[in-house]
Symmetry: C2
Subunit: 264 residues, 2 copies
């Protein structure tokens, strides 16, 4: 990413630099208070989760509701349909998903396993698309959800083909353990990434969860670095990684080629 | 929807009622400036589209970027990945999609046509999910996109099973024409909705676009009104509506039953 006018310190004085969080920061906290399991949340609960005063939650919620970003539901609030509409326009998701979809359906049909598409965001991967296979276990991932990059095949595939700063950031963040097999030491992760760079493929051998294995390939963008990763996941006892590796690898190369041609 | 404290005029004084648009209103306008075809937009273009001063766009964009709602891309801006994440948590979409998915894949497989799931929002329908069939034309809809309710089978199916105020709002909004067959007179729309109520099904006979036909059923919620609609669309010359009607109807009844059992 190029450094632009956005980071220019000369512009900093124009920002709302007061000690109190800005309206945008508070609105963002309010929207971010909703988790995957939350149906509706009341004002008191939102105040508790965000640390905002109830009167502030009331005032912000009324405005966010007027713009469709929240919706009233009985006595509580839920995320608004407009967020879904805006989310569907997110370009990084849109163009990658369109390019990846046919490869994902092919992989899903050919293996009976689950095909996934993910991008890196800081130290985590965000899943853009998941196609659940006919013979596949429940996975810890969900569309729009996050997992620590170092603990997943998609994350390792992207990191292996990312600038060194991306790997440094992950190591600085600390390597949390998701299963007894998660790589949690910096040295081992660096060696693993070197192996992945050489092979062009990454494996998750029950590192994101016991009983689950995964093979992933990076999707290489026009700049020669990974912009995403494509993977196939299944039961550790049933999905033979060496057997599906070539299929996943081929799909990744084709996707990189087709995606590099279109807009990023 | 129950009237709540949100509409209480006693709370109105707490709102930011100044003549100038609020930070949330301006941020909402900025996010809303991006359309389906936009890759990235520059500050000047965003200022032009929103009517905001360039300095305001700069300041808001910097803050929205800090919270992941926008992303810098070269010299321009694009909608941020966080909007995609938040959009995936929108409950109205989540629970309906999960309930509808198996029925949609069945309809798609059985007919080769395209299965769609949509909800009403004001005078328009918003598409929550689209499963493109193997023998289906390009449709004017897209996931997260909108079409006028009166011109689509899903919209008419929902309106026929909605409170009268919903129909009144659509008529007040004016019946725009999408094709030479769109219903554009209030009297004809009211008669059409009465027919749909009786049949439990709605048809789009090239009303949303020439060459396309569609059969839709309402998804009835716990309150006895439509919360969504499920449809099958295909080529007007090839998709025989009477032949698929029973399949769509059956799927809609089953979906209404299963959805009424879960949380709205």
């Amino acid at each position: 990413m190029r450094a632009g006018e956005w980071n220019d310190p000369r512009n900093a004085s124009a920002a709302q630099d007061s000690a109190a969080p800005s309206v945008i920061a508070r609105s963002s906290a309010l929207l971010g208070a909703f988790g995957p399991g939350d149906h509706t949340l009341g004002v008191s609960e939102l105040a508790r989760r965000t640390g905002l005063a109830k009167s502030t939650v009331h005032r912000l919620a009324r405005e966010l509701t007027a713009h469709g970003l929240l919706e009233r539901d009985g006595g509580g609030l839920r995320l608004g349909l407009r967020l879904f509409e805006l989310g569907q326009l997110v370009r990084r998701r849109q163009s990658l998903r369109e390019a990846a979809w046919p490869f994902m359906t092919d992989l899903c049909t050919a293996t009976g396993a689950t095909a996934q598409l993910a991008v890196l965001d800081g130290t985590e991967v965000v899943y853009l698309e998941i196609l659940v296979g006919s013979d596949a276990p429940d996975l810890p991932s969900r569309v729009g959800g996050r997992l620590p990059a170092h603990a997943t095949a998609v994350g390792k595939a992207i990191l292996a083909f990312s600038p060194a700063v991306a790997v440094d950031e992950v190591l600085r963040g600390g390597l949390v353990r998701l299963s007894s097999r998660t790589i949690v030491t910096p040295g081992r992760l660096r060696r693993e990434l070197a192996t992945i760079r050489e092979a062009g493929m990454a494996y998750d051998r029950e590192e994101s969860g016991l009983g689950i294995v995964c093979a992933a390939v990076p999707v290489i963008g026009p700049e020669g670095t990974a912009v995403a990763a494509l993977s196939v996941s299944g039961w550790s006892g049933r999905l033979r990684l060496p057997r599906i590796a070539a299929a996943v690898h081929t799909a990744g190369l084709a996707l990189s080629r087709s995606h590099a041609a279109g807009p990023g």
